[in-house]
């Protein structure tokens, strides 16, 4: 969990995904290693499960985590230079290897335990899961007090306590080797504490990628980080610099000064600007900005709701428009605090969709500012629920009569986000019963920004907008009635791309051929719903070659696409999985029993099913909590706790129970596929505590049932220590492959399909089980 935070700050999600996924193969590799060991030395499980070898493994674990983290934090790995600098491939391989060693050691301890104490497999499972649950919850509690890097080291040192536990009554007393190990543990702990606390934790400070906006800002002279705050919703860095000048969509005709600004960076990117507004003069620039057009369209400005995903200018537009009541919703608690201290507006610390589900108020203007990440493409894997059709339906339902929705964003070429947002708004307007959705929208742009205006009532008089655009030198992109000669005048492209694309889409909607339009377009620009909330993902596999050529035939351009990275990682993972599962078979001598195919199917099935289920809920709960880390923590802790209990209970269950557990899981998951979206919508309307408790308890039956198959399988279906080590390897490989596959499934087919895959995986496990029993 901490690694995901570390990589989120240092790199981008999809690139960290690459390293973490492969490193997790360390678990599977431990099973492979022990299976091979079995071919050479029988009775390894007994020898390795004694106190001394376990102490050595624990010692090595702590040492390798500290070493791996320190090396990774200093390694000059630059993903974008991979295609042009062969040395980077060595760095990448090195990161895979060094990060997989701690996972290998942890996996070894668990695998040894299952092999040695297979009769108590349920108990082993219970303790393993309880430990994992603790590992998922503790960072949540400690992250406000320590930085991410410090926590990684501190958690790595925790198992060293095991070396100082006095031996039991029937065990040998501590000997010279034991004392030596304790000495080594103390030395590692001392080094670890030094690294964590020396120089205020500078040694373990996460260094953001040079491509991140914070790294770039810090290159300017007289630029400093005033304060950094780590939290479960991400790290924020408050930066003071004379070079911050943020005024998106500002007219070139505005030559006056801008107010003093400072920037808040979230996970070292996505700057959020705070303006020092002392007088109305400081807000004058807002009246000369693109998005102000939306405020001009609103007949009254009684209540304005501002949602700022990234950016920070929207609040100033609302203030400049002299709105009577302004409410700003900000999910990050620290950022909400900063904003409420900076402006005289109501600031609600909440996830925007949660706020909309719970509020009963109607607004004259809802302004969403969403500029996206500093490098387009890096957010392709990020779930974003404020730009889906469902979100637009929510906005429309909270709009006063004659109210206006304003969406401010960055202009991308070829047109992608602009078309997708138009389509999302169009379909939401259709859903809201508007007869002519195309008459309710307007779009303007300058050279790098656009504003989409969605009106509750048809836009009959577009003269104010046309006049505003003319006077500010903005370009009209879409109006219910707009001629070609009116577009592409001030901010000229060689062709009126945006106008043409939106005209074609509107015509397609009117003709009912929008599906064909989306299919034929070079990018995936179909509107996204809550079941596939990836508004920043535009790549189409069928157009990959064209896309590659249009980005100058540069391979690194493709590395910016999360989807390409996921696929590359999946191919890599397939090779590694074949290697890890094939290797023991090669080592087993002729005539000796080899791992059986039914066992393989059973453990692949439950490994894949478990991981598909976890990822399904993690992705679904992001909708509830508005944060991947919180979702990750809730789901992992709940599933670990409940499946641990399931494992504990399974100690008294038999193979018939196992069969029914698998059947129940498959049926339960089909039920989730059919009705979970309704439950999620309902949960969003609950109070915070009820939402957390209910979300946690929903996982009770799922976790309990999922804890049964692995424990019973280890106890009753397998015969030899090698079988158990190999089953562990199989389970590990299945987990990694499915975690990668589910990312691809979610972005291309939608999140609900993941739970169907979980049902299928458990059904396959059932088939494997039936065959095992039959044989």
């Amino acid at each position: 969990m901490l690694l995901t935070r570390v990589f989120a700050i240092g790199q981008w999600n999809h690139l960290s995904f690459m390293v973490i996924s492969i490193a997790l193969f360390g678990f599977g590799a431990s099973g492979t290693f022990l299976s091979i060991l079995d071919t050479r030395r029988k009775g390894w499980e007994k020898r390795l499960s004694t106190l001394e070898p376990l102490k050595i493994i624990v010692l090595l674990y702590s040492l390798t985590v500290v070493a791996a983290f320190m090396v990774l934090n200093k390694l000059p790995l630059d993903y974008f230079r991979l295609p042009i600098e062969p040395l980077q491939a060595v760095y990448l391989l090195l990161s895979y290897l060094i990060l997989s060693v701690p996972f290998f050691l942890t996996g070894s301890v668990i695998s040894i335990a299952f092999a040695a104490f297979y009769k108590s497999a349920g108990m082993v499972y219970f303790f393993t899961m309880s430990g994992s649950a603790l590992g998922a919850i503790m960072p949540l509690l400690l992250i406000p007090f320590f930085e991410e890097g410090q926590l990684v080291i501190l958690f790595a040192l925790m198992p060293l306590v095991f070396l100082f536990v006095p031996p039991g009554k029937d065990m040998e007393p501590v000997n010279a080797k034991g004392i030596l190990l304790m000495g080594a543990a103390l030395a590692i702990a001392a080094i670890g504490f030094y690294i964590v606390f020396a120089d205020n934790g500078r040694q373990v400070k996460i260094v953001p990628s040079p491509y991140k906006a914070l790294s770039q800002m810090l290159k300017f002279p007289d630029t400093n980080i005033d304060r950094s705050v780590s939290g479960i919703r991400g790290r924020i860095d408050i930066v003071d610099s004379p070079y911050i000048r943020f005024a998106p969509g500002l007219s070139l005709k505005y030559h006056e000064r801008l107010p003093k600004q400072w920037a808040v960076y979230q996970d070292a990117d996505s700057p959020y600007i705070i303006y020092d507004i002392a007088s109305s003069e400081d807000m004058e620039f807002a009246k000369h900005s693109l998005s102000f057009a939306g405020y001009m369209m609103a007949p009254q400005l009684s209540d304005v709701l501002v949602l700022q995903n990234t950016g920070g200018a929207a609040i100033v537009y609302a203030m400049a428009a002299e709105a009577e009541n302004i409410t700003l919703v900000e999910p990050h608690p620290e950022l909400a605090k900063i904003v409420s201290e900076s402006y005289f507006v109501d600031v609600v610390n909440s996830n925007p969709r949660e706020f909309l589900a719970q509020c009963r108020q109607k607004y004259s203007v809802i302004h969403l500012e969403s500029l996206g990440p500093s490098i387009p493409g890096t957010a392709a894997l990020n779930q974003e629920y404020s730009l889906t059709v469902n979100a637009f339906i929510n906005y429309l339902s909270r709009l006063q009569d004659n109210g206006v929705i304003i969406i401010s964003g960055k202009l991308l070429l070829p047109p992608a986000n602009t078309i997708r947002l138009y389509a999302a708004a169009y379909e939401a307007l259709q859903y809201a019963g508007k007869k002519k959705p195309e008459d309710h929208m307007a779009m303007l742009r300058n050279w790098d920004n656009f504003t989409l205006i969605i009106s509750d009532t048809p836009i009959k008089d577009s003269e104010p907008l046309t006049h505003f655009a003319q006077s500010m030198n903005f370009d009209l992109v879409y109006l219910p009635t707009l001629e070609k000669k009116q577009v592409n005048r001030f901010n000229q492209f060689e062709y009126p791309y945006y106008y043409e694309a939106l005209q074609s889409l509107r015509d397609a909607y009117l003709a009912g051929t929008e599906s064909r339009f989306f299919k034929q377009y070079v990018l995936d620009i179909a509107p996204q719903w809550d079941n596939r909330p990836y508004p920043n993902r535009f790549m189409k596999w069928s157009q990959l070659s064209e896309l590659y050529q249009s980005t100058g035939s540069r391979f690194y351009g493709l590395l910016l696409s999360g989807e390409v990275v996921v696929t590359v990682v999946f191919v890599e993972a397939l090779f590694v999985a074949f290697f890890l599962l094939g290797l023991p078979i090669i080592f087993i001598s002729r005539g000796k029993p080899k791992p059986r195919a039914h066992h393989l199917v059973f453990f692949l099935g439950i490994g894949a099913g478990f991981m598909f289920t976890e990822l399904y809920f993690i992705k679904q709960y992001i909708f509830l909590f508005g944060s991947p880390t919180i979702s990750f923590t809730v789901v992992l802790s709940a599933i670990m706790i409940f499946s641990g209990i399931g494992g504990f209970i399974s100690q008294k269950l038999n193979q018939t129970h196992l069969k029914w557990a698998l059947i129940c899981l498959s049926c339960l998951f089909i039920g989730f596929y059919l009705g979970f979206s309704i439950i999620l919508e309902t949960l969003l309307g609950l109070s915070t505590v009820s939402r957390y408790v209910t979300a946690f308890l929903i996982l009770l039956p799922v976790g309990l049932l999922m804890g049964i198959p692995f424990s019973i399988g280890m106890r009753l279906l397998l015969e030899t220590p090698m079988d158990r080590a190999y089953a562990w390897a199989t389970n590990g490989c299945a987990s990694v492959l499915t975690s990668i596959a589910s990312a691809q499934v979610a972005i291309s087919q939608g999140i609900p399909l993941i739970i169907i895959l979980a049902a299928v995986a458990y059904f396959l496990a059932l088939l494997g089980f039936v065959k095992v029993r039959g044989s």
């Binding site: 491509y211 770039q216 290159k219 300017f220 002279p221 004379p242 070079y243 911050i244 000048r245 005024a247 500002l250 070139l252 005709k253 505005y254 030559h255 006056e256 000064r257 801008l258 003093k260 600004q261 500093s374 490098i375 300058n446 050279w447 790098d448 030198n473 005048r489 001030f490 901010n491 000229q492 492209f493």
Partner: protein
């Protein structure tokens, strides 16, 4: 001295002599615009610039005349006419010849125009401009580059170029208005002070976009009180470092 010679001595003496000749040759070439450099320039104009679509004869002639090798360090003179930018120290570069030509052509200059350049750097771009127009003003923020460029411009016969040490973000108020302004460093917005110093009909060209990533070469034209913006092509420039907010 024979003791210092190794087997195959005759060949080595020959190679050594050749190397010495090359060294002397390049040393001699630094002090004047030799036939060698003129032919290099001709090749540069034909192969790098004309072939890519630059047709303005004034620009082509200026590129043929301006001795680019004098604006780079001694060590880089052999590569002065290559199809790439070169380092000039202080973390700055002299632009690729084609980009110099493209930016110059985009400004559609006439002989009587007054041009302001932001970021003198080596002084080469200012010299090219001076081949076309009567009045060139150039501002450099880095003192060392300012001093070097001043010296080179004078030595190369471009003493009429007016240079100044300062922050180009705010332009050259006393010399304004200008027919054209050229920014030769990346900036993420169009500096308003420079827009105000444009004449009616004036043009401003700049690499616009993320200063640490790639940018779009953008041409801004003033028409009365209105401004139009046109994207020319994708480019990569070093960041502009001036106090953008003051």
């Amino acid at each position: 001295m024979n003791g210092f010679l190794l087997p195959g001595t005759n060949t080595k003496i020959f190679v050594f002599t050749i190397l010495l000749s090359v060294l002397f040759y390049s040393g001699a070439a630094t002090s004047s615009d030799s036939d060698h450099y003129q032919s290099e320039r001709e090749k540069m104009v034909t192969e790098q610039i004309e072939k890519r679509g630059i047709t303005d004869q004034k620009v082509l002639e200026a590129m043929r005349k301006t001795p680019r090798h004098l604006f780079v360090s001694q060590a880089l003179r052999g590569r002065a006419y290559g199809d790439y930018p070169l380092a000039i120290g202080e973390g700055q570069t002299i632009s690729q010849p084609y980009i110099v030509a493209l930016m110059t052509e985009s400004l559609r200059l006439s002989e009587n125009d007054r041009v302001l350049e932001i970021g003198t750097g080596s002084g080469y771009q200012a010299a090219v401009l001076a081949e076309i127009v009567d009045e060139v003003y150039s501002i450099e923020i880095k003192e060392k580059l300012y001093e070097n460029s001043l010296e080179v411009l004078q030595e190369a016969g471009y003493g009429e170029v007016k240079t100044r040490l300062g922050d180009g973000y705010f332009g050259w108020e006393e010399a304004a208005p200008f027919d054209a302004v050229m920014i030769t460093a990346a900036v993420d917005h169009i500096p308003p002070p420079l827009l105000s110093q444009l004449k009616d009909g004036g043009r401003l060209i700049l690499p616009l976009g993320n200063p640490f990533s790639y940018q779009n070469l953008t041409l801004v034209t003033r028409q009365g009180e209105d401004y139009s913006v046109k994207q020319v092509t994708g480019v990569l420039f070093v960041p502009m470092t001036g106090r953008a907010l003051q």
